[in-house]
């Protein structure tokens, strides 16, 4: 039986005349890394805020570790760690002091967890440096450290790699993978850096204007992110006619700049090139390509992707 850490049912949130969330049915399987994708204002943060108890839904329910009612739902929140809309820190405190304040808040016995957590996020040895003097990347790490205090089973991270340098991005990615694979922590992560999400997430949810458009696994996404041959010839119109008649397919697109995207023949590029050459066409560019998460996301929300 599939175990879910989070399920929302018909979750809606209305702000005066604006619908921030519209009947969202989202589910996150235990052990997964759920990449939550959406534009600014799509409803990602609103949903995360409702899950975390910062806001209440207008209608619908949240089920966290199978608990959906009042006190039990709130108790279930003790099993999650959150970083919502950036790291929330006491600027006048050091990293250790920030963690100590949160350790006491969460009622975690013993101070050993502080050094252990700081080490995990690479912030050991920051000494007396106040959080206000940290770089953005260090603040992000400290925010993640706070979320990790108390060994949560479910981690909710809203834009955790914002402001990190390339090395920092890789380190956070590796950290999250480690937390997921070694400690079995389920992770909900929202990020604008879709290429990064694609390297990390095992499941995806696409939200747009308050509607959850689609939920899919990494395998399903990879299948949907179609592979194609990227072809440039001296006569695109003739090439289109040749492809349609000789390859018996209409699974191609002729782009305004004359480039052709031919789907379905990635494994047999030789056949395609020989047919084109035999018909007297000059091939200027010929390469197998794949649609990435960004392109797929843009396609789903009906936007134009300039890759």
């Amino acid at each position: 039986m599939i175990e879910y850490v989070l399920k929302t049912s018909h979750l809606s949130k209305q702000f005066k005349n604006q619908t921030a969330l519209n009947k969202v049915d989202l589910s996150i399987k235990k052990g997964s890394i759920y990449g939550f994708i959406g534009q600014n204002g799509a409803g990602k943060s609103t949903l995360i805020r409702i899950i975390s108890g910062l806001a209440s839904p207008t209608t619908g329910t949240v089920e966290l570790f199978v608990h959906s009612n009042g006190q039990a739902l709130n108790e279930a929140r003790k099993r999650i760690g959150t970083m919502i809309e950036g790291p929330a820190l006491y600027p006048h405190m050091t990293a250790v002091e920030n963690l100590e304040a949160h350790r006491l808040l969460k009622g975690i016995p013993g101070k050993e967890c502080i050094e252990k957590t700081l080490e995990l996020v690479g912030l050991q040895g920051t000494g007396k440096k106040k959080a206000r003097n940290f770089s953005l990347g260090m603040k992000q790490r400290l925010g993640i450290a706070i979320a990790l205090l108390g060994d949560p089973e479910f981690l909710i991270l809203d834009e955790p790699i914002n402001g990190l340098d390339p090395m920092g991005v890789v380190e956070v990615r590796e950290l999250l993978k480690k937390l997921n694979q070694e400690y079995g922590i389920t992770i909900l992560i929202s990020s604008h850096i879709l290429s990064e999400l694609h390297l990390l997430a095992t499941h995806y949810g696409i939200i747009h204007k308050g509607h959850l458009l689609e939920q899919l696994t990494l395998d399903e996404l990879n299948k949907k992110c179609k592979q194609y041959l990227h072809i440039k010839v001296d006569n695109p119109e003739k090439a289109a006619a040749v492809i349609e008649s000789n390859l018996s397919t209409r699974e191609f697109e002729v782009l305004p700049d004359g480039l052709i995207k031919l789907f379905g023949f990635v494994d047999t590029p030789g056949i395609v090139s020989s047919i084109l050459v035999n018909e007297g066409l000059v091939i200027e560019h010929f390469m197998p390509m794949g649609q990435d998460l960004e392109s797929y996301f843009m396609e789903r929300i009906g936007g134009v992707h300039h890759g």
Partner: protein, 249 residues
């Protein structure tokens, strides 16, 4: 609840505004009577008179105004730092979170409220050579009433700090409110009779009566105790209801 109080206590101990305000009040407590000594003959000032008119009189402003600054930094800044999100998402009951905050803020306010009565009186006793000291019973009564009224005012400030959720706005609004409100309430009570009991039974008016505690009847003394206790409970409950319903941004 115990862990929440420990966490709030830890944060109060680390709050720089709390220590700065305490430091300034300590300096004032030691420095002000020294200025009087330098200005007048030491034996001319009775410690009891100084305690009643200068210390308690001046402390009325300290109780009403100085903790507003602490409320801005200790409560409202939790919203602007975003740390309130961590608190609420921790899975603790919002009512408990609010009361833990209120209790520790009240302790901070009581500390601030007692610096002048304790330290300034102590300093003045030394400077004035212990001339005509206040009666110990009277002194202790005023001390614990000061602490009680400090807590009552803290509950009102905590409500405003939660409502405004921005340290700058909260401090500005509360300073103006606490400077003007008793005068406004006094004028309203003088002109509209139905507001008279509101003024008479308010902590704003009764705070000024602490200095006369030795002359109060037992009925008036009961009123002096019950009103701040009820104020603390009522504003504590109102604040906790507001906090429970508040969307944390």
């Amino acid at each position: 609840m115990g862990n929440l109080i420990k966490s709030e206590w830890y944060k109060l101990k680390k709050d720089r505004s709390f220590w700065l305000l305490t430091f300034l009040l300590v300096i004032t407590s030691i420095g002000y009577p020294l200025l009087i000594v330098m200005d007048e003959a030491t034996l001319a000032v009775k410690v009891n008179d100084f305690y009643q008119y200068s210390v308690l009189g001046g402390n009325n402003y300290v109780i009403k105004l100085v903790p507003c600054i602490l409320a801005g930094f200790f409560i409202s800044s939790e919203y602007s730092n975003g740390t309130m999100k961590n608190m609420v998402a921790s899975g603790n009951s919002r009512i408990q979170l609010y009361f833990a905050k209120l209790i520790i803020f009240s302790v901070g306010t009581m500390v601030i409220s007692l610096i002048l009565p304790l330290l300034m009186t102590g300093a003045s006793a030394v400077y004035f050579s212990f001339y005509e000291m206040p009666d110990l019973g009277y002194f202790l009564q005023t001390i614990w009433l000061t602490a009680l009224y400090g807590a009552a005012f803290a509950s009102i400030m905590a409500l405003f700090a939660t409502l405004l959720a921005d340290s700058g706005k909260a401090i500005g609004f509360m300073l103006i409110f606490f400077i003007l409100f008793d005068s406004v309430l006094y004028s309203v009570a003088n002109n509209i009779s139905m507001f008279e009991p509101v003024f008479n039974y308010s902590v704003f008016k009764l705070l000024l009566e602490i200095v006369n505690v030795s002359a109060l009847s037992s009925g008036e003394m009961t009123k002096m105790i019950v009103v701040p206790v009820v104020t603390f409970i009522v504003f504590g409950l109102l604040g906790s209801i507001l906090y429970k319903k508040k969307e944390i941004k």
